[in-house]
């Protein structure tokens, strides 16, 4: 048998072959070493003696982040770091004492001398690599050190590009290469006065690379003191935005001190790609302005046909630069209001009455009743089901009521009855058409920080959890309460689908468009629901009247989600103009109370800003014309 393995002769034979292979490989190494060290020794010896050339990294400019019109949201600004090359610095100070050079330096950088010593000691791996003493120092300290260079051996000033937020840092200097929007920019300037840069959750931030990232990425050109995208867009598009570092060569003497340069050998850095977003900064700004910083919640505005996100707000906000201050960062991380959480993608809330359109669509599409039929029992302010009384938010009762009025007044008792008629299976089927309980696959969540899935319970869910589906569960679901959970992003996608009849895929990066999918619901039904949503805002006594715009028809729906842990969550969804929707919006204010009172005005201000800035006047009058001739 050919592989009689225990036969020693065959083993020896194979071992000889393997030994031959080893000898061959080592032969290659040996010959190469012989060539380098013996044959070409002279040449390399000279190179080594003349090896006065040291490469210095030239950082590549990180790509900018621009809004849909090219206005710069995030750019790079120079910042100054004071650093020390330990051996050169330590050679000039007395051991164990805090006087002379150390003391002076300590005063300039405003650090106790013990801290400086600690920093120098903790970094003994790369001797000649500068150790940062203080980052982002002011220009005064820089000039003192520059002027007295020879008094500070081993102390260096390094310029490092930092992320800047021009609209926030320097509102009066917001300039643009796009002349047609320039007018609007200056118009909005006076009220740029917020405490945080725009959309910090979505744009994300960069921070110092950590040890394990470094060891994984060092082969890709990262250094241990590089900055890397940590969250949001900065993290997701790190590879596109970071660019490629350049290198220049300087001449150093035997002690490693710079004495000249080699300009012809410079390999310039390749700047990173700019990212263009679908966000419109003016709308974003207006939305963040309308949404007080003291509130918690989220706002997402989207172009309903294409899924382009126009504004995306999560409150409370934070300043991306806080990551550089460990104490401030610690506070942010432990803050009970979770300012770092991107609520638009990761906040899960019961959608409340906003969800009543699902029950309505299911009922209409299944032919259970027509929108103007008075078939269900009148509302008396509550309804007894099983051994419990389920209340209507209108304690006085809504009286005899049809579907249209029930949605406009958001009558709970009507929907309790309707929900029971529709049943959980059909209700679930229609809700699933709008992809509740499914990821939206927004481009900034894929492979990034992720998004929440929400929860759309079906019959099986209750069977598994409780063994059976109680009627009471269905009553809660039909008004968007109970176990049901959705993210603001899912809700705005649903609103868009109501506005257009098609379900778009939301995205933030310009050009990442995905074709919307059609809903298998009859056009008639969608039209009916749309007309009711117009009434919610525009009819007298409509719950959404605070979202009205003077020269345009807005369609919307309020929601007030009961919350066992405190005040109700306020919801409002809307789209406008009703006839030819250009923007869909969802607002939630945590513990805000009534949706119509709290959330609708925020939506209204955002819509107003959108039509003020983003839609050319000409077009608006045309649309108005259509709307008025309805």
């Amino acid at each position: 048998m050919q592989n009689d393995f225990t036969h020693n002769g065959i083993r020896t034979h194979r071992a000889r072959i393997l030994l031959g292979a080893i000898a061959f490989l080592f032969g290659i190494l040996g010959i190469r070493l012989y060539m380098l060290q013996i044959a070409e020794w002279e040449q390399y010896r000279i190179k080594s003696e003349k090896n006065t050339m040291q490469p210095v990294i030239v950082q590549a400019n990180r790509g900018l982040i621009r809004d849909r019109n090219g206005i710069i949201l995030v750019d790079n600004r120079p910042s100054y770091n004071i650093s020390v090359i330990p051996p050169r610095f330590l050679a000039n100070i007395e051991k164990g004492k805090c006087n002379g050079l150390l003391e002076r330096l300590g005063q300039i950088v405003d650090l106790p001398c013990e801290t400086i010593k600690e920093k120098l000691q903790s970094h003994n791996r790369y001797f000649y690599d500068p150790v940062n003493l203080k980052l982002d120092v002011d220009f005064e300290a820089v000039s003192i050190i520059e002027e007295n260079r020879y008094d500070f051996p081993g102390v260096e000033i390094q310029i490092e590009p930092r992320r800047g937020y021009p609209i926030f840092d320097n509102p009066s200097a917001v300039s643009t290469e796009f002349s047609h929007v320039q007018h609007n920019v200056s118009h909005a300037q006076h009220n740029v006065s917020r405490s945080f840069p725009l959309a910090p959750h979505t744009l994300g931030y960069i921070g110092l690379i950590n040890a394990s990232q470094y060891s994984r990425l060092k082969t890709e050109g990262y250094r241990y003191d590089d900055r890397i995208g940590k969250r949001g867009i900065e993290r997701m598009f790190e590879d596109r935005m970071r660019g490629h570092k350049g290198v220049k060569y300087i001449e150093v003497n035997a002690k490693g001190r710079e004495v000249g340069s080699f300009p012809e050998k410079t390999d310039p850095p390749i700047p990173g790609e700019d990212l263009w977003l679908t966000i419109d900064w003016r709308v974003q700004h207006a939305a963040e302005h309308a949404f007080a910083d003291s509130m918690r919640g989220s706002l997402v505005a989207m172009h309903p046909q294409s899924g382009e996100i126009i504004a995306i707000v999560s409150k409370p906000g934070f300043h991306p630069r806080s990551i550089r201050d460990p104490k401030a960062w610690q506070l942010l991380q432990t803050d009970p209001s979770k300012p770092l959480l991107n609520r638009s993608l990761k906040g899960e809330y019961p959608p409340a009455s906003v969800f009543k359109m699902i029950t309505s669509i299911a009922a209409l599409d299944q032919g259970i009743l027509r929108a103007d039929e008075y078939r269900l029992r009148p509302c008396t302010g509550g309804m007894v089901f099983g051994d419990r009384r389920f209340r209507c938010h209108n304690k006085k009762g809504c009286g005899p009521i049809n579907l249209r009025q029930a949605l406009v007044k958001s009558c709970d008792v009507f929907f309790y009855q309707l929900g029971l008629k529709v049943g959980i299976d059909d209700w679930h089927r229609y809700a699933a058409m709008f992809k509740f309980g499914e990821l939206t696959n927004i481009d900034i969540a894929l492979g990034g920080d992720g998004e929440a899935r929400g929860l759309l319970p079906d019959h099986a869910y209750y069977k598994q959890r409780h063994g059976f589906l109680a009627g009471g569960n269905m009553l809660n679901l039909t008004i968007g309460q109970g176990e049901l959970l959705a993210t603001p992003l899912q809700v705005v996608r649903y609103t868009s689908a109501l506005a257009t009849g098609q379900l778009p895929t939301p995205h933030v990066i310009k050009g990442a468009q995905v074709e919307p999918t059609s809903l298998p619901i009859s056009e008639e039904v969608i039209k009916t629901v749309q007309s009711i949503m117009v009434d919610v805002v525009n009819s007298p006594g409509g719950t959404g009247h605070r979202a009205r715009l003077p020269d345009m028809v807005v369609a919307g729906k309020t929601g007030t989600a009961q919350n066992p842990h405190g005040e109700d969550h306020a919801w409002f969804v809307a789209y406008a103009p009703a006839e030819n929707p250009r923007i869909a919006i969802a607002v939630i204010v945590e513990n805000g109370g009534s949706g119509g009172r709290v959330a609708a005005p925020i939506a209204q201000k955002t819509l107003e800003a959108y039509f003020e800035h983003a839609v050319p006047k000409q077009k608006r009058t045309n649309e108005l014309f259509i709307v008025n001739n309805r």
């Binding site: 393995f5 080893i22 080592f26 070493l33 380098l36 190179k47 001797f127 394990s212 994984r216 050109g221």
Partner: protein, 406 residues
Amino acid sequence: MNLSLFVRRDLDIGLFTAICLGIGVGITTIYSASYNWDLGLASNIYEKQIIWALLGFIVMIITMVISLKLFYAFAYVLYGLTVTLLILVLELGDRRWFNIGPIHIQPSEFAKITTVLVLARFLAYPNRDLTRARSFIPPLLLVLVPILLVFKQPDLGTALVFSILILPMYFWAGVRPVHLFFLISPALTLICAFHPWMLVAIVVLLIGILFFERPRLVTASILLLVNLAVAIIAPYIWENKLHDYQKRRILTFLDPDMDKLGAGYQVIQSKIAIGSGGLTGKGFLEGTQTKLAFLPEQHTDFIFSVICEEFGFIGAFFVLTLFIFILWRALSIAVQTKSRFSSLTAIGLATILLFHIFVNIGMTIGIMPVTGLPLPFLSYGGSTLITNMVLIGLLLNIYANRYEDY
């Protein structure tokens, strides 16, 4: 087991001495690499390496006294455990490491050894007919799992270790070299796919060998199809699917000179360091290249350059001889051992060592890509040293029990 008896009768003195010498050279060189002229002292990493070495010897002794039957019996379990760890590290850890306090645990290090064990166990099963797919395919799947998981980290160097170690083990178990050629032919095609003449050459070679070998029609057609698919798809993906930065990453991997700042700079400086060492070297602590910090990563990946600069060709020759000796010991242990399992294990472990040595030294002299694989026993780093000591412990264990069969 009585350890003193063990030491007197069954310790492979040669191998053990060689390892001690290697570690000694390593610590000396690390001291030199971290020595600073301005200060007149070295940083404390060589002390850390001494502690790691002591720990390593303890781990080695533990591995020496555990019965090989246990390694045989638990080969699949150990393999399963490390694969689970590889999955977990992707999900929970830092993709490559678990960080437990100051200690980083890198599961791919253990996975190398457990993969060798599981392959040895599968191939050692008596009467495996390795010309049959039923016996030939499962080992491939067994290595494919860790390859994919490690590749995802991403750690290309270690993924390559896994892909290489199966070849000599197959050979040792009786697979014919022609079949091994068939096995690696898609990889060869991938390399040749971007150059028309090379592609023609590899296709002619493959068809020629198929003609003379006359394998079964199914085998031959699958082989041709796979190679054809690789030849067509690889350039297509290159042209249409990869971003510029991804292409650049691959190109600089293959040709470090493209990246003057990163890998290319390291290799150029490393070559100058080695070449300027000459026959006898510049002397201990006298290397200018390393002292003036022209050479980064000198105590880890480029430790060999420091040896060459300070001890010259003689020093390099000594280190190469040491490694050849270690590998020769591993091979002769594989020949002498009665048990198929132990013998195959020894071959697999020797392959791991050989690949690390060749790729690391090849990198410092500019004939291999910069992968970040350390030089066994010499490079600074606790986890690799410990793993290598486990590996040596296993070899010594096999030697001591070479007359046993199970």
